[in-house]
Amino acid sequence: MSQPQFSENDQRELAQFLEAENAKARIQQTVHSLTDTCWDKCIAKVNNKLDRSEEACLSNCVERFLDTSLFIVKRLEDLRSTGM
């Protein structure tokens, strides 16, 4: 008893769909990780709403983390090219 196969078109569509969903899931995972770190850095007390300075802190926290990431990669490349 054989199962019907998806057509080539359907297979391609499913593959693209899975790729897109995986990319979204990776982004969400990163957001979870960043929120974890930045919550600790930026939210001292639980209030009735996030104030402007807390929002700015969260936003800066994300940007500086990514800057850090780029910085580290670049420095590793520099070290490699000067024959570390």
């Binding site: 499913l14 929120t35 930026c42 209030n47 994300v62």
Partner: protein
């Protein structure tokens, strides 16, 4: 006895939708689960510093507010991150 070999194209496209819905659903669940775990951890830390014999009403209020704040924070982080990714990918295409 049902025939497995002769699905019409209608049934196959349903099956494809089914698969896609199932994947979306499972990923959404995993995301929600992660969020719940983080909220539990962070809000327990902030709101129940000295665990007593029960959750006091003040602690419960703090936990409610904390859940809301954490989800707002998640949204702020998500917007910042997605904006940054878009900016990076645009500057690389120039």
């Amino acid at each position: 006895m049902s025939e497995y070999n002769n699905f019409g194209s209608g049934e196959l496209s349903n099956k494809k939708q089914e698969v896609m819905e199932q994947v979306r659903g499972e990923l959404a669940m995993a995301n929600a689960q992660e969020l719940i775990n983080k909220i539990n951890e962070k809000c327990y830390l902030k709101c129940v510093p000295k665990p007593g014999a029960r959750l006091e009403s003040g602690e419960q209020q703090c936990l409610s507010k904390c859940m809301d704040r954490y989800m707002e924070a998640w949204n702020v982080v998500s917007r910042s991150y997605v904006n940054r990714i878009q900016r990076e990918s645009q500057s690389q295409m120039m």
